[in-house]
């Protein structure tokens, strides 16, 4: 399980009055989270700790982003938004989905440029707050770059 959950930055609640954020557990079809380009990625997820609060919407996306010295670039490969009561009931609190990866870009661990692939689940609540959970996986088998 990878639970790289993160509270969305626009939320700030004093500890005494804060509602607990949900915990999103996500399981990849491959235990090592390593995929080849063009391969299907299957994902199971479970959202715990909703405490009766009803999500207003759920977004599921597969994307790559850059890290390193440069400004962050982002490319969304797959994006789904569930925003009606009927569709939300199908995908909350647990669900599965599958996406087929493109041929590029591959995951890359460079010196000043890094490319990462991830699955993001973003839950929007009626109160206006939202919570995003990011789960990184690898595409391809490019070794890390080391300065010559």
């Amino acid at each position: 399980m990878n639970a790289a959950d993160a509270q969305h930055g626009d939320d700030h609640i004093p500890a005494s009055t804060a509602q607990p954020f949900p915990r999103i557990e996500l399981r990849f079809g491959h235990p090592g989270r390593g995929y080849d380009p063009g391969e299907w990625v299957t994902v199971e997820y479970c959202i715990d700790g909703l405490n009766g609060e009803r999500p207003r919407a759920l977004e599921r996306s597969a994307l790559w982003y850059t890290e390193g010295k440069g400004e962050e670039d982002l490319g969304v490969h797959s994006f789904e938004r569930f925003a009606t009561a009927e569709t939300i009931d199908r995908v909350v609190p647990e669900g599965t989905f599958a996406i087929q990866l493109p041929t590029s870009p591959l995951s890359y661990e460079g010196v000043i440029v890094k490319i990462r692939w991830c699955i993001r689940l973003r839950v929007f609540f009626e109160s206006g707050r939202d919570h995003v959970s990011e789960h990184v996986f690898n595409v391809g088998r490019v070794p890390p770059s080391i300065l010559p």
Partner: protein, 360 residues
């Protein structure tokens, strides 16, 4: 509903401003532009209706403006309205949407593709287009690769500097000369002219030196048997180096360069770093044929574990063939020929299209 925080935490250790506050400020800016456009336009239109001071009971409706004059007068308020209005619409469209939602939505807008990132190889997202690398056929091999040489830009920079600086020097010199003809001597102007002339002469010397350096060693040509390149595959490469001098050494190799563009305050900076060097061949004591050029043909193998070429708005990973030569009596020079490397072919069927869905 809570008030958004002004500062929020970004991925990693960087801290940035809140997206909500940023959107609010952006919206406010565009709303102010729209307001200014309306007020300015109303003032211009209502200002057309006035009264004659000599006859306050009469209202003057016509001030003698032609239609084109009205168009010219209303140009600024109309521009403010158009710019502010389009900005406001964009802010409203993206308000409350997640980063992923905005990125997915932008892919569906045709115009965004025109103004956005550079074109890519079809079927390979993130891999830069190689159209510009394949539009010149080679003499022996299939493609002649274009040269990307920083020396040429240095030459252009020196030339522009020398031209503009010496134009200023000429203006000053004409002023001094005119004074001398009239029999007066402006020592302050003459004192100012001396350092200006010195810098101008220095600029010309630098330009001439750079021009001699770039032309005396002769042109470098690189041809390749196929393009784009695939990891693990070997390609024939033909090198041609012109010049009448003896070269102490000529090196040909592959390099992988990372490029990152970032903002530092109000400046935009770009850092380049070579992270992998693959030597291919080295020739020593090379003497090109008089009136001809040194010719060599080698096999270049792209490493099987090579990262593919990648390009996005602010980041890039680029492969290039690099020729480094050390002439006998001139400084070393480097000539760079970019190539595009595709990702390793997948063993499974590739994804046909990217999925962007919205189930409202």
């Amino acid at each position: 509903m809570r008030f958004p925080r002004f500062f929020t935490k970004k991925r990693g250790h960087r801290r940035t401003d809140s997206h909500a506050w940023g959107s609010f400020a952006e919206g406010l800016f565009y709303a102010l532009l729209v307001g200014a456009g309306i007020v300015f336009g109303l003032l211009l239109v209502t200002g057309a209706v006035s009264y004659a001071p000599a006859d306050p009971d009469s209202v003057v409706l016509q001030r003698g403006y032609e239609w084109w004059m009205w168009l010219l007068t209303l140009l600024i308020p109309l521009a403010l309205l158009a710019f502010g209005g389009s900005g406001l619409v964009r802010v409203v469209r993206t308000w409350g949407k997640s980063q992923e939602h905005r990125a997915a939505a932008s892919k569906t807008v045709i115009l965004d593709g025109l103004a956005g990132a550079s074109p890519v190889v079809p079927g390979h997202p993130g891999v830069p287009s190689c159209d510009n690398l394949e539009n010149s056929p080679g003499i022996v091999l299939r493609y002649r690769l274009p040269l990307e040489s920083p020396e040429n830009w240095t030459l252009v920079g020196f030339g522009l500097f020398a031209l503009l600086w010496n134009a200023v020097v000429v203006v000053l010199a004409v002023g001094v000369g005119a004074d001398l003809i009239r029999g007066t001597t402006d020592w302050l102007l003459i004192g100012l002219l001396v350092p200006f002339v010195a810098v101008g002469v220095g600029g010309v010397v630098l330009f001439v030196r750079a021009a001699i350096l770039s032309t005396s060693v002769g042109p470098t040509h690189v041809e390749i048997s196929d393009h784009p390149l695939v990891p693990g595959v070997s390609y024939d490469v033909r090198l041609g180096q012109g010049g009448a001098h003896l070269f102490r050494s000529i090196d040909l190799g592959l390099e992988l360069e990372e490029t990152a563009t970032f903002r530092q305050g109000t400046d935009t900076r770009t850092q380049r770093l070579v992270v992998r060097r693959v030597p291919v061949s080295r020739w020593q004591r090379v003497q090109p044929v008089p009136g001809g050029s040194f010719e060599a043909r080698v096999a270049v193998t792209i490493p099987a574990d090579a990262m593919h070429s990648f390009s996005s708005e602010n980041n890039a990973v680029q492969w290039r063939i690099v020729v480094r030569a050390l002439p006998d009596r001139w400084p070393e020079f480097t000539r760079v020929f970019p190539v595009v490397v595709l990702p390793v072919k997948a063993a499974v069927p590739t994804a046909s299209t990217e999925t962007v869905e919205s189930l409202e």
